[in-house]
């Protein structure tokens, strides 16, 4: 299924959970925050939250800034 991830189109398997996605991106041990369709998905819900076709996903982290 097609989703938008960090502004770009991406194909992921059906029934992918937020946790699965993070894992597949190699980000499992990184400190990050995830938003789907402008709503924050807390880390504790990563395993349960199933991503749907057309979802807009944002994965953010902390970088240097003033």
């Amino acid at each position: 299924m097609e989703i938008t991830l960090n502004g770009a189109s991406r194909t992921i398997p059906e029934q992918t959970s937020a946790g699965d996605l993070i894992q597949s991106l190699g980000l499992a041990d990184k400190r990050l925050a995830l938003e789907i369709n402008r709503e924050i998905v807390p880390r504790s819900s990563f395993g349960q939250h199933i991503i749907r076709p057309g979802d807009t996903v944002e994965i953010v982290h902390a970088i240097g800034g003033g």
Binding site: E35, E58, H61, G66
Partner: protein, 270 residues
């Protein structure tokens, strides 16, 4: 106050208090614009800063997983991280950024709110800043707010529940130093929360001047990261802030138009 302040031991006798938490250092630093992580770490350490700002941006998908990560050199358990809303031009984006930051940092809710109005000056959009402040304070955030040097707005933001108000010295990254010292002084005199100069500082004397005006602290990024020797400048800034604070507490002499001799006339043999 008659005792000389030593930087290590008696710093906690004059702590910076933000939202009930005492900090030894009155210098807050950003982590942007450094050439690499090693320089980020070295300069941050040299500055003695305890509160360090970070930006919140998209993770790079598909890049090297061994890419150095900022939080490895600025660990959240050693520093108080202050996520900013840099690059936000609307209250909505700023609020969204703060919420993501809070999630990212496990519920840590101290944030630097900046809502910009214009790309050239990076001056704050006060209308959007006020709108964001209202939402964020209601949502339990502890807001340190970037604003201009308007004393009316500074007081309004304090009254709305910001834990610190941060008037700019001059445009972000401009290095011009405090453009409007009398306004900063007015803001300080009317304030019931810490006032930190944020943005536009260029060199150590600018930081010292901010402290001599009675500010509680100074936040800077470009002044250090953009210096030819950032680690040395970080050290200079640390000293400048300490010197300015001590001078402020010591109570300076008034400015006078004419001279007043330092040596007595009595006993002159000529």
């Amino acid at each position: 106050m008659s005792t000389v302040m030593q930087s290590n031991t008696s710093s906690l006798s004059d702590p910076l208090l933000i939202d009930g938490i005492a900090y030894r250092s009155r210098l807050l630093v950003g982590t942007g614009k450094y050439k690499d992580m090693a320089e980020t770490r070295a300069a941050t350490e040299a500055s003695g800063a305890e509160i360090v700002t970070v930006a919140i941006r998209r993770t790079n998908i598909g890049q090297d997983p061994n890419e150095p990560n900022l939080l490895e050199v600025i660990p959240p358990d050693q520093y108080t991280l202050l996520p900013n809303t840099a690059g936000c031009y609307t209250a909505e984006d700023a609020v969204r950024t703060c919420r993501l930051a809070r999630e990212l940092l496990d519920g840590h809710n101290l944030v630097k709110l900046e809502v910009l109005g214009d790309e050239k000056t990076l001056f704050p959009d006060i209308v959007q800043t006020i709108e964001a402040t209202e939402i964020l304070v209601k949502d339990g955030f502890k807001v340190m707010v970037y604003t201009n040097d308007d004393p009316i707005i500074a007081k309004r933001l304090e009254d709305m529940g910001c834990v610190a108000v941060m008037p700019l010295a001059a445009p972000i990254g401009s290095g011009l130093g405090i453009r409007n010292p009398y306004n900063i002084m007015t803001i300080v005199e009317n304030a019931g929360v810490p006032i930190l100069v944020d943005a536009g500082v260029g060199t150590a004397s600018d930081a010292a001047i901010a402290m001599e005006l009675g500010c509680d602290g100074v936040l800077m990024n470009t002044a250090i990261a953009g210096a030819k020797d950032p680690v040395m400048m970080a050290s200079a800034m640390k000293k400048g802030i300490e010197a300015g604070r001590e001078a402020y507490l010591a109570g300076r002499i008034p400015r006078k138009r004419f001279a007043s001799a330092s040596s007595p006339i009595d006993g002159a043999f000529f």
